[in-house]
């Protein structure tokens, strides 16, 4: 049971994802300026505080064993502080710049005048002047860079710190990256001269920021994918590329294979994690990075999938062809629609499924169907039964055999049910199974619990990472019941914002990015 509960989204010990969460939060607070949001944000940070430390640890194990990682942790924390976009501060900075420029101008005028008047000044004075000018220029450039973030509204990381301080330097590469500047370009170069240590870090931070960007992108993609495929996307024909996999490929248990040992994986991320065991060359950030992300900025044709089964609505030759969004969609669709239902419920021995996850979902509720129609169909929800009866002629609700026993308690329950309107029994059970995601603090604690036992040993931690993602994959195999009705009312912000959880398509769109 623990294994089932734990792999809910916020519990990934995945540093980059965590980072991206924070990014998103900053995003919110920047755009909304809502006090409660900030408060929540802090709460969330507190809850995840230990986790970010953990993620530092993960860097320790996975990436470069660099003592300055701690500092990086600090910078990442600095990045977390909620900061407002404050025009007054920006104005202050600008006027400061202006003053500096005027000062420099005056100085240069003076030098020029002097040069015009008299030649052959002592070397010392000239070098002094040069130094003074360089210092001034450096100061202006530093100021300019540090305020660049707040000057450009599209920049995400910007707003955290506007006053020049050492702590902010961690951001610089990020800004560079985002604004399309090369960190090694000459204009920035002087900064590296002045500030120590930055070189080592910038590489590192650059990478993390890359990850962040990728993750961010991924999440945006996820959010876009939220609409269920069944609802129809209304993509104009030809605007997407149709791929059709063969039946064998679809039914293959693994799609990613290790080129060295031949082991198969369902997800490419798992494969990458696995590859680390084959040598140090697989541990570089490049090797661990997600493939195909170089071309992110390029406009790419959207990929959609077709079912190989002829005559199927999901087949590209069908008149009303509706493409499938992801490979996982294809897999589940093909198994559900065109394969034998080989998984039989061990409780009722009647319900059959072709997808294991469907069976597991069913088994959770099997035997709880108490709403029975005269046609023999059972329903776990009263509204579904009555919808069924309203739809079909001659069907009536069947009276349970133990009607005489029908206690007053049932009436109360029904009234309760009524009170909760949408939060019916099923909603309740879902709340239970996803219970840990309902409470932020609980989650944080659980994450700590999950992580702590293993952080001592870096190797076991690695394996734990694997374990977790594996679980995650399994988790995603479950077709999720549409429970946003039930939970949205309670924790709308937690569900949709902080957990990056896309309720409807979750299971199917996530792998799209991971595969």
């Amino acid at each position: 049971m623990q294994a089932k509960i734990s792999p809910n989204p916020p519990s990934f010990p995945d540093f980059s994802l965590q980072q991206s969460n924070q990014l998103r939060w900053e995003d919110r607070s920047m755009s909304d300026n809502d006090i409660w949001m900030e408060a929540l944000f802090r709460e969330f940070n507190q809850a995840c505080g230990t986790q970010s430390l953990l993620s530092c640890g993960s860097n320790d194990g996975v990436k470069i064993p660099n003592p300055e990682n701690c500092q990086m942790g600090d910078t990442s924390r600095a990045g977390k502080l909620p900061a407002d976009w404050d025009p007054s501060i920006m104005l202050e900075n600008l006027s400061f710049l202006e003053d500096k420029i005027h000062q420099l101008q005056g100085l240069l005028h003076l030098i020029v005048d002097k040069k015009g008047q008299q030649f052959g000044q002592p070397e010392e004075i000239i070098t002094q002047e040069k130094r003074l000018i360089t210092a001034n220029l450096t100061s202006i450039i530093v100021q300019l860079i540090s305020t660049a973030g707040s000057l450009l509204p599209s920049v995400r990381l910007a707003s955290s710190n506007t006053s020049p301080s050492v702590g902010q330097h961690g951001q610089i590469p990020g800004i560079n990256f985002l604004s399309g500047l090369d960190p090694s370009s000459s204009s920035i170069q002087p900064q590296h001269d002045i500030i120590d240590n930055i070189c080592d870090q910038s590489n590192q931070i650059d990478h993390t920021n890359m990850c962040e960007m990728e993750q961010n992108h991924m999440e945006e993609h996820e959010l876009k994918d939220e609409e269920d495929v069944d609802e129809g996307e209304n993509l104009p024909p030809g605007s997407f590329e149709i791929l059709q996999l063969e039946k064998e490929v679809i039914l293959a248990p693994h799609t990613h294979f290790c080129t060295i040992c031949g082991k198969g994986f369902k997800r490419d991320a798992n494969l990458r994690m696995h590859m680390r065991g084959h040598g140090d060359e697989y541990k570089t950030p490049e090797a661990l990075a997600k493939p195909n992300k170089e071309s992110v900025s390029e406009p790419k044709l959207i990929k959609r999938y077709s079912c190989p089964y002829l005559g199927c609505k999901r087949n590209k030759d069908h008149k009303k062809f509706q493409p499938l969004k992801t490979i996982l969609c294809v897999k589940n669709h093909y198994k559900r629609s065109h394969c034998d239902k080989s998984y039989i419920c061990s409780r009722c021995h009647t319900k059959k499924f072709s997808v294991m996850a469907d069976l597991k979902t069913h088994e959770k509720h099997c035997g709880k169907d108490k709403w029975l129609c005269s046609c023999g169909t059972t329903f776990s929800r009263k509204d579904k039964l009555f919808g069924h009866i309203a739809l079909f002629q001659g069907h009536t609700p069947a009276i349970p055999l133990d009607e005489s026993k029908a206690p007053a308690g049932q009436a109360e329950m029904e009234i309760n049910e009524n009170n909760n309107n949408n939060n019916n029994n099923k909603g309740g059970s879902i709340n239970l199974s996803f219970g840990s995601s309902a409470s932020c603090c609980e989650n944080g604690i659980q994450n700590i619990m999950d992580g702590k036992g293993i952080t001592d040993d870096p190797i076991s931690y690695l394996s734990s990472l694997n374990f977790e993602t594996c679980n995650f994959a399994e988790f995603n195999d479950f077709p999720r019941p549409p429970f946003e009705d039930a939970t949205e009312g309670l924790f709308p912000f937690l569900m949709s914002e902080s957990f990056n959880y896309s309720p409807k398509s979750g299971g199917e769109s996530c792998p799209d990015n991971l595969v």
Partner: protein, 655 residues
Amino acid sequence: MEAPPRRPAINFFDLLTEEIILIILDHLRDPLARKSFSQVCKSFYSLESDHRKFIKPRILNFLPNVLRRFPSISQINFSLCPRVEDDTLSSISLAWNSSLETIDLSRSKFFTQKGLSSLATNCSSLLEINLSNRTTLTDSSLKAIGEAKNLERLWLTKCKSITDVGIGCLAVNCRKLKSICLRWCLRVTDYGVGLIAAKCKEIRSLDLSYLLITEKSLSAIFELEHLEALVLEHCHRLDDDGLVSFKKSCQSLKVLNLSHCQSITHIGLSALTNGAQNLEKIILSYSLSFTSDLAECLNDSPRLQSVNLDGIMVRCSGIRAIGNWHSSLKELSLSKCRLMSDECLSFTVQAHKELRKLDITFCRNITYASVDYITRSCPMLTSLRMESCTLVSRDAFLLIGRCQFLVEIDVADTDIDDEGLESIARCSKLCFLRLGMCLNVTDKGLSYIGSSCSKLTALDLYRLSEITDLGISSIADGCPSLEVINIAYNPNVTDNSLLSLSKCLKLRILEIRGCSCISSRGLSNIAVRCRQLTLLDIKRCNNVNDEGMIQLAQHSQKLNQIKLSCCSVTDVGLLALASMSCLNHISIYRLNKLTSYGLAAFLMSCQSLITVKLSTFFKSLLPEHIQESMEARGCVLVWREKESQAPFRRLNRWE
């Protein structure tokens, strides 16, 4: 079929065709008259037997004979039979399988799903079933009823055990339902109601009072094309928040009852009445305050005739807005609107000159001015209820005579005096008059009424300390069609009054509670002559003893209910009453001379009893098995301690 001629002389009945005789028979409303008719001769007997459509059995022991004698019964009312078993139901369903249309089981117990099932399957033309008050009625019973495919009307009031499942079975099977009452069926929710609305498209009348339904099922209900009456009393889950986005409209709706829906304001009401072009009657009693916004919602209903705003917090602007409505009201009820002022009321009645019925009971702020405007602007008024309008002066009642079409006047607990009654006496069509607690009324006033209101059928003279036998006799002489009279707590009324009242042969209800001068002698006169007597209240008539009871038992065959508490009746009198075949309800608190043996003998011998109210004193004295057998008969024993109750307590039979 004609009676065979017994003599050579012409039998005039031979000249009558069977049809004409049957038409004559139809005009004999009184069951006793029909009985006499059937006993004239064999042919009349068989004619009457064949023609009988309606029975209301008292004792089911004779049912086999009844089944044989009356072949074409279409209506059965079991309300006098507290115990109806499955066998009874199945035998009647077999005997009258093609004719039975209506059955009332609202007062009966002990039948189960089995009996209902045979009823529903055998009686193909069954149109109406009343199963109210069966709190143990189950879903499977409803499923059984579903077999009655032609069912049109169903009453399920207080069937608290039925759920959506049963309602679902019913809705799917009985597609012809036109009227269903689910009042107090607390376990029925939106799902069941929604299914009824979805499946039974013929619904005309729907009572959903006290249900926890929301606007969800209302939207299905408003899809019904023929819906005319919708009762939503005490539906507290209906509120403005839900109704604000309610877009449906029901054009056929005629009656809407939103009484006690305290979460609905003008927002919800406008959503419900939007497009209800045919709305005729609306009941908003005991709901939120009546504002001008609320009044505005109803301005667009051109056919609106009747508005009930009882107990509502009335804003002056709201009542004034009623005066501006396009429709002309015929009935307006404003009882217990305590803040109602002269100004508002006058404005309203001036605008609705067609008003027939006006109820301003307990509007304690109104005065002479209002009565002046009412009587001047509404000459067609037939009913005026103004009980406890205490600020209305004596002079105002002189104006009531302006409305000569008045049939019903309630001026109880006001300052009306003899002059006022003289004015009222001009209403020659007067049928109902309440004068209770009007302390200024004397015999003289009653004589005005008696001299001109010959059609008076009901009169309330509760606690008029001034009146004597003289007044009563003038009423009795002048109002031969008097059916109901209340002369409770009039100390000056004696046996002579009863003697004069015995001239009113139609007397049904007689309340002489607390008239200590009345004795068995007076009661005997009533018993002997007033054969229609069904209800008698002689509580606290200390001088009434066994003799009166014996007379009653001998003559008052129709007596249904008697209140005997605090009389001088002993075991003998009570046992005499046990021989009455119609006696259903009796209250015998504080009969000091009654013994437990007498009581036990009475309970065992009086087979028709349904409710017995008696003091807890006897509970321990009465043998257990007697109590059990009473229960098995379906008789309810109500135990109550009545010793300390104050004698001065207002009993109002009229409300």
